[in-house]
Amino acid sequence: MLGPSATWYLGVAAFLFSTGALGVLLRRNPLVVLLSLEIMLNGANLALIGYARHLGDGAGQIFAIAVMAVAASEVVVGLGLVVAMNRKRITLDVDRLNTLRG
């Protein structure tokens, strides 16, 4: 069965990536920001997998699997930091994270 062409996959991937990027730039809650980072990475993953099928080449799919592992470890560290900050009773608002400025 023929699916949509590679361009469509790239379009969806670019949409996911931009959604994530906007989320990172605009949202204030660190949890939502981490979630948006994941969406960005998954957009890139979709592009990799779509291209890999299009090219008939396995390398892109292997890359995507590696990226999933990396994304998981990154979010673990991120969530760890958020929990540690929460225990310190720091407000969860990235705009208020302004002890360091100048």
């Binding site: 291209y51 892109g60 002890t99």
Partner: protein, 488 residues
């Protein structure tokens, strides 16, 4: 029988030595009694870096002809080996600087484990020969550094720095990854040589991917306009971590940028040289102007590191063999000066227990002459004075740019150097021309004992900074052989 790719374990030795050090230090966190934990972990970490340094030298000697190893995923050549030597040297010194840092001793072994893991990620990253190893190496070193920034959970600034670094670093990596996906899709190759051979010079998506890869690496090299995390993270992270980040992360990010651009995108050189030149000018401008108004020394050094990213990008924009040589040479004294200056800041911070500003540096040069004179030398080196490697480095960078016809870029660089004199000499003035009494500090139990390891590390940095001026020929030869591994 299944065909396996041949694995050149020798080429992986520096990476594996550091990985082993990280694993042993992590075991020490549970198995070694609390009293001996700090010493054991630090020794293991320093030994790991020393062994990696030795392996990198051996590999440098035996890799005159660069080639891909492990199914072409990583590259064994003198370019990577010289970079690994810089990283390993920085790691040994950073361990020495870290040893007396005041941190709670319940996570001290993890600290050294992560320091070694970050180094091994860097050693892997500089050898990357395809987009996948590039991304994995980048994340490997970054995730280790995110945790190192926030390792002291009592320090709210550290947590804040770690989270900021993670969010902005993660954003940069995601941009790099999407760029890699575009390049892969347009060329059908992940390895750098394959991307270059696909030869699709006027492909809009490929160029978009290239721009995203440059931005992604720009975040790690803290070049403007991707620099916004740098001052906050450098200020908030524990000072020894900042020292290591400033020296080693910048080195590997710039070298990998040069490798990717030269080996994967030689056909697009007329476009990316301009882009890199623009980024260089932006970094020089923003870094220098913002550094002028800083009162906190760590923030000032962070902006100075942004402006130095600009200087070194001039060498990348030159896009010739001389530029490659200039970059590799310059990184040696630069790494030493960054480590040394942050080490001196760390020493002052431990004496006072408050963030170091220009005001509370008063009289430091007279109290601790060794550290004062070292800091003086590092500042002159950053500004590019003779008798330090910074002079030769800047000279080479400008020569490379001039040869390629980038006269205006050279002029911008010279102006930036003149502006930078103000804040570099400001540190010297604060240390030597202000009296300690002006500080009105209440002495509590006298000054802390001299920290022999930190002083040794600072002296090591001083020797490299000054030595790279006098031993310029051997180092240039070293850099020349390394730069020849790239297809110029």
């Amino acid at each position: 029988m299944i065909q396996r790719p041949h694995i050149d374990w020798f080429a992986l030795a520096p990476v594996n030595a550091l990985l082993a050090a990280a694993a042993i230090a992590l075991l020490a966190a549970v198995l070694v009694p609390r009293r001996a934990r700090r010493t054991t972990a630090a020794t293991v970490c320093a030994l790991g870096y020393a062994v990696a340094f030795g392996f990198a030298i051996a590999l440098y000697v035996r890799s005159a002809h660069g080639h891909g190893v492990v199914a072409d995923a990583i590259r064994r050549d003198r370019f990577a080996e010289l970079a690994q030597m810089i990283v390993a040297g920085a790691g040994v010194l950073a361990t020495g600087i870290s040893f007396r840092e005041r941190m709670r001793d319940n996570h001290v072994a993890e600290y050294y484990a992560l320091l070694a893991a970050a180094g091994s990620g860097m050693a892997f990253f500089v050898a990357a020969n395809n987009l996948m190893t590039l991304f994995l190496g980048l994340e490997w070193l970054s995730i280790s550094l995110y945790i190192l920034c926030a390792i002291d959970r009592d320090l709210i600034n550290g947590l804040e720095a770690g989270l900021k670094y993670l969010i902005i670093g993660g954003f940069g990596s995601a941009v790099l990854l999407f760029g890699s996906a575009l390049v892969y899709g347009e060329t059908g190759h992940l390895d750098f040589a394959g991307i270059a051979s696909a030869n699709r010079p006027h492909d809009a998506l490929l160029l978009f991917g290239l721009a995203m890869i440059i931005s992604g690496l720009g975040f790690k090299a803290s070049a403007a306009p991707f620099h916004m995390w740098t001052p906050d993270v450098y200020e908030g992270a524990p000072t020894p971590v900042t020292a290591f980040m400033a020296a080693a992360t910048k080195t590997v990010a710039l070298l990998v940028l040069l490798r990717v651009l030269r080996t994967a995108f030689p056909q697009e050189a007329h476009l990316w040289t301009v882009a890199i030149a623009v980024i260089a000018v932006a970094s020089l401008t923003i870094g220098n102007l913002a550094a002028l108004v800083q009162r906190n020394v760590k923030r000032m050094l962070a902006y100075s590191s942004i402006s130095h990213a600009g200087f070194m990008l001039i060498a990348v924009a030159a896009n010739n063999a001389l530029g490659g040589r200039a970059l590799l040479y310059y990184l040696i004294p630069y790494a030493a000066m960054s480590l040394g200056s942050f080490a001196v800041v760390a020493a002052r911070e431990r004496e006072l227990g408050v963030p170091v500003t220009f005001e509370n540096l008063a009289g430091f040069g007279w109290e601790r002459p060794l550290l004062g004179i070292s800091m003086w030398t590092f500042m002159l080196g950053f500004a590019g004075f003779p008798l330090t490697g910074g002079f030769v480095g800047k000279f080479y960078v400008f020569a490379a740019a001039y040869r390629q016809g980038w006269t205006w870029l050279v002029i911008v660089g010279v102006i930036a150097t003149l502006v930078s004199l103000y804040y570099y000499l400001g540190v010297v003035r604060a240390m030597f021309l202000r009296r300690t009494e002006d500080l009105q500090l209440a002495p509590i139990g006298g000054s802390p004992p001299r920290d022999a390891l930190l002083q040794t590390a600072v002296v090591g940095c001083l020797v490299v900074t000054v030595g790279s001026f006098f031993a310029v020929q051997p180092l240039i030869d070293l850099a020349k052989h390394a730069a020849n591994a790239l297809p110029f």
